[in-house]
Symmetry: C2
């Protein structure tokens, strides 16, 4: 097959940042994606309706107009009242929970993952039908952090059977196995965790541009993630976790975590699914699964790809910002030939 | 205790490089260490008597004269003849074996670790009493490379019971356990592998200056190494594997592996052994064990340390070279108060 069409691609885990960085990366996502679930870990994080609507407005201004829907999220707090959540319910797609200090801008996350501590907000969310997205890592040894979080997922999933829980950016075989154990557990997986292991980060030279949180794990973990994605496991969605960091913060002594994949995600996914004879499942993985899980209808956007060499830019720039994408300077086998946008 | 004396400190695994880098790091080691086993992985590697003696001469010229003995090594090759080894025997302390491509400048290492392939050289070494130092890693997944090498150590140790085999820079619990299984197996351990795990390299921000090969492993591995060192396990020697890389090759996109510890090793080891109530064992770990294992008498050099703050320089420079040490800019509790050098 030399051409392929992706319908209404959705990125269910995206960092768009703010300011000039938003103006740089917003257009890159909104060019090819129909919509994206946007993370709320700004500084300060999004915890009020005012901040939420204002951020949504800034995203819409930065993105390609009328061709992209940002699905915004709230930063989880233990003390959200039922009435506050009821009022904000229609403006958000989900609430994102971060353990405190676990990743970029998560300092004000929850300091205890005890179900009883989280209960007030979770009970309201469950009643109101607001999904819960979780960054599921403990502060243990870096290779064990996600695995150690599994009992916490289990405890929340069993305590709130009506709450939809999304395990974000999963990286392990353990998380894939947990997916099938609880009806109300779902997951996103990134592009890079389908492709790399710790070997790619630190097995040869050290590769700052592949350093991310959660860190890439073992070959058997990557294989389990890839197999589930290729067969479009119905509880698994694509979420790039594409996280732009300025070049100087990646190539330095003590560099920040995050891989920037938005502008190359569709091309690489097409190549990956084609190589594994799974192109028939790509639209489910990248759009239909998310529509069913979150129960919404995205903007209609068709991206046509063709099997034609595409050289990934060495970096993307806007004003003072300079972001290096995954596969910078390398050649991909698939490129985007046209984008068709139809409002229903 | 507020003072401590180290007698004839030996670094049994050291990279001194060549040229200006040798002129920068040679004096830093030879100031405090009585002697060091110097690795032969130059470009090209040391494989002839001429190259060996010429390198030894350059090291002596670069180091503090008459106060330091470089114990030089040959780069293992499958085709060394018995007569060549017999002739070079008294000029070397050991021969170092690298699997091809496994670390810096090891491209011309052996391409098979099959005992039968290695047999000719190993049989000659065994007969002549030349110890074998091994960089024991497979080319598997980065966290498994040393563990996967254990059967190869076992195969060589059991095939050549009279050959002294040193497992270099061990990083795992598995290697510590193997030490006690074969009479002819010994090991060196670095300073940094007594102190760090993968968490320190990639658990928070990425730390290029702690990136090394073999990569730092899990907490239980570090604990096993530290316990063995603190009790001065008689088959374990200190070998810093101190490896200077120019600053620009560490703080860049795709950085080189190696931690530079030579100028701070004695201070940090004293602090570490004191904190663990093991100062009585430090001289065995850092000198006596190596003297017994390799059967030699080092130059007499006494280093007196006192419990007094020492700020580690942010880098060491010589001409165009600029090397960042471990703990750059940080404060240590012990400093060197005097160095006494006596020729017997």
């Amino acid at each position: 097959m030399d051409t392929f069409e992706i319908d209404s691609a959705l990125d269910m885990h995206l960092h768009l940042r703010d300011g000039d960085m938003l103006k740089l990366v917003g257009p890159l996502t909104s060019e090819t994606f129909s919509g994206a679930l946007v993370m709320p870990n700004l500084v300060p994080p999004i915890t009020t309706k005012e901040a939420l609507l204002s951020y949504k407005k800034r995203i819409k201004e930065a993105c390609i107009e009328d061709k992209f829907e940002p699905y915004v999220t709230l930063f989880f707090q233990n003390d959200y009242s039922y009435s506050f959540l009821e009022d904000i319910k229609d403006d958000i797609i989900a609430i994102k929970l971060y353990p405190a200090g676990i990743t970029t801008n998560s300092e004000t996350g929850v300091s205890s993952m005890d179900v009883e501590v989280l209960r007030p907000t979770l009970e309201s969310m469950s009643k109101l039908g607001i999904p819960l997205c979780i960054h599921g890592e403990t502060n243990g040894f870096v290779m064990d952090r996600e695995k150690e979080f599994m009992p916490i997922y289990e405890s929340i999933a069993s305590s709130f059977p009506d709450l939809k829980i999304i395990m974000e950016h999963i990286t392990t075989k353990d998380a894939i196995e947990l997916l099938d154990k609880y009806d109300n557990l779902y997951a996103t997986v990134t592009l890079h965790h389908l492709l790399i292991t710790l070997d790619d980060v630190a097995g040869g030279m050290l590769s700052p541009h592949l350093f991310c949180k959660p860190i890439a794990k073992r070959p058997e973990d990557r294989d389990a993630l890839l197999n589930a994605a290729l067969k479009a496991h119905p509880k698994l969605m694509f979420g790039s976790d594409s996280a732009p960091h300025p070049k100087h913060k990646k190539e330095c002594c003590g560099c920040a975590a995050g891989v920037f994949t938005s502008p190359i995600a569709l091309q690489v996914l097409t190549q990956l699914f084609e190589e594994n004879n799974s192109l028939d499942n790509l639209n489910a993985f990248i759009s239909l699964n998310a529509q069913k899980i979150y129960d919404f209808k995205p903007l209609n956007k068709k991206v046509k790809l063709e099997k034609k060499k595409f050289v990934v830019p060495s970096s993307y720039k806007f004003k003072g910002e300079d972001v290096v994408p995954m596969y910078a300077g390398e050649v991909l086998n698939w490129s985007i030939s046209s984008i068709e946008d139809k409002r229903d």
